[in-house]
């Protein structure tokens, strides 16, 4: 018997993560683009950490942080009645941390590649920083935005190590498709594992196909 719940859950997690990260990453990347100072370099290094850290390291620290037996988890539980460990919300926070560089990097490099004259022209015409970002800079880096969104989405779909450590494999809450595959293989239900794996394979291919098609079209439409 094959359940679709893990696939829906994965979709929900990936979409939520992408949305949240988009909101965080746009201002963050914009801030990182300005004049360099030591503080920005440190933030940049922190943002990139999940790229090089083993997922188990992130999972381990989050497990310790979220556990109601420890200070932070206890505080959350006593003050807000929230328990993050082995829950969807906890998974969402972990995914946001884990996929952060995949959203920030493309947007950051897109913004950095823009000619400063664009920004200067906008400022001299009396636009605020926010208006400039929204109306001038972002519309000019659409391929980078798309890349960031697609990479973040795909990376969250493929998340495994972190989910394994802090997810607890709860059906409908934290059993994502990648965990379900692992589980079904262990249970020797190869048919189910095949179905999940096949869907993820097709999904990944389609996502990349869309990304490259759009990026090509936008490259051709570029006129500056």
């Amino acid at each position: 018997m094959i359940e679709l719940a893990p696939l829906w859950l994965t979709l929900k997690l990936a979409l939520s993560t992408t949305l949240i990260l988009f909101i965080i990453a746009v201002p963050l990347a914009n801030w990182l683009t300005g004049d360099k100072n030591i503080f920005k370099v440190i933030v940049q290094a922190i943002v990139s950490m999940p790229l090089v850290l083993p997922p188990t390291v992130i999972g381990f620290y989050l497990l310790l942080a979220f556990s109601p037996g420890n200070a932070f988890g206890k505080w959350l539980e006593e003050w807000f009645n929230i328990r993050l460990v082995f829950s969807f919300s906890g998974l969402l926070i972990a995914s946001v941390i884990y996929s952060l560089p995949f959203m920030v990097h493309p947007i950051h490099s897109g913004l950095s590649s823009l000619s400063p004259s664009l920004k200067e022209a906008s400022y001299s015409l009396g636009k605020t920083k926010w208006q400039t970002l929204m109306k001038v800079l972002l519309p000019n880096i659409k391929p980078s935005l798309l890349t960031a969104i697609v990479l973040t989405f795909a990376h969250t779909v493929g998340e495994f190590g972190v989910v394994l450590m802090i997810g607890g494999n709860m059906p409908g809450k934290t059993r994502t498709a990648s965990i379900a595959i692992y589980d079904e293989v262990d249970a020797y239900h190869y048919y189910n594992a095949n179905v999940y794996a096949g869907i993820l394979l097709a999904l990944s291919f389609v996502i990349l196909l869309i990304l490259y098609t759009f990026n090509r079209k936008m490259q051709q439409a570029k006129f500056y």
Binding site: I23, S67, G69, R83, V85, M134, K135, D183
Partner: protein, 251 residues
């Protein structure tokens, strides 16, 4: 662009994280197939949805200690549920529901498992699957038996460790391991029946695997009555018949 930005923001804020009330049961990997049948039998008269989370007993214990929202824990031994009881995470002391048996199993046609474990020294056997003794009671039973016959050091280079008895069984079933130790309930399950050859090891050679279950404190927050009903069902005559069928010893 600004509009889009704020509508996204709104979508995230209003994102509903629906909370459901149903039973979540943490099940030791050796009980995985048995649990499917227990669930089916229970659902004949009671429609409570039962979510099953399978893992090594030690790992599940660890997760419960970190606050995993499980209502009942069906372990592969006595010690792990007792540990939870000592930490005040249970509603009652744990109770034994069945005794598990260890088997030696191989799917390789050329290998004939035997009660005499010296066969493991042979050159045809290059890898021996065993569940992680740190977290899986069947793994520690296998380790015990190897040490008892002074074979452990001699075969340690061949040991392949599965993180639970189900991963260990999967190593053997796929012939990625030549032979291995697993639970009797696995080799006689519908999924594995007729695959390869297995032999039951002498139960007197290792400490009895007294599998216990326990009602967890979390049940109070979800649905204690339903949890109690399923917990009591685990000790019913009907459930005992199922344990028997899956090769457990029931007293």
């Amino acid at each position: 662009m600004k509009k889009l930005y704020f509508s996204i923001l709104l979508a995230v804020v209003t994102l509903q994280l629906a909370a459901q009330t149903k039973l979540t049961v943490a099940v030791a990997a050796n009980m995985q197939y048995t649990m499917q049948e227990l669930k089916a039998e229970f659902n004949k008269t009671d429609k409570t949805t039962i979510d099953v989370v399978v893992g090594a007993s030690g790992k599940l214990t660890q997760q419960i200690q970190h606050g995993a929202p499980f209502d009942i824990f069906i372990s592969a031994d006595k010690e792990y549920p007792q540990k939870l009881a000592d930490n005040h995470l249970t509603l009652e002391p744990p109770k034994v529901y069945a005794q598990g048996l260890l088997v030696l199993w191989s799917v390789k046609p050329a290998i004939q498992p035997a009660k005499d474990l010296k066969l493991l020294l042979g050159s045809t056997i290059k890898s021996i699957a065993i569940a992680n003794p740190q977290t899986a009671p069947y793994g520690s039973a296998a380790e015990f038996i190897l040490k008892k016959y002074a074979l452990y050091d001699k075969v340690s280079a061949k040991l392949v460790t599965g993180e639970s008895i189900s991963q260990t069984s999967q190593f053997i079933a796929t012939q990625n391991a030549d032979i291995g130790f697993t639970a009797k309930s696995v080799v006689i399950s519908t999924e594995m029946k007729g695959k390869g050859k297995w032999v039951e090891l002498n139960a007197s050679d290792y400490p009895p695997i007294e599998q216990s279950a326990v009602l967890l404190k979390h049940a109070k927050q979800s649905n204690e009555a339903a949890a109690r009903k399923f917990y009591n069902f685990l000790y019913s005559t009907k459930a005992k018949a199922i344990y028997n069928k899956f090769g457990y010893i029931v007293k």
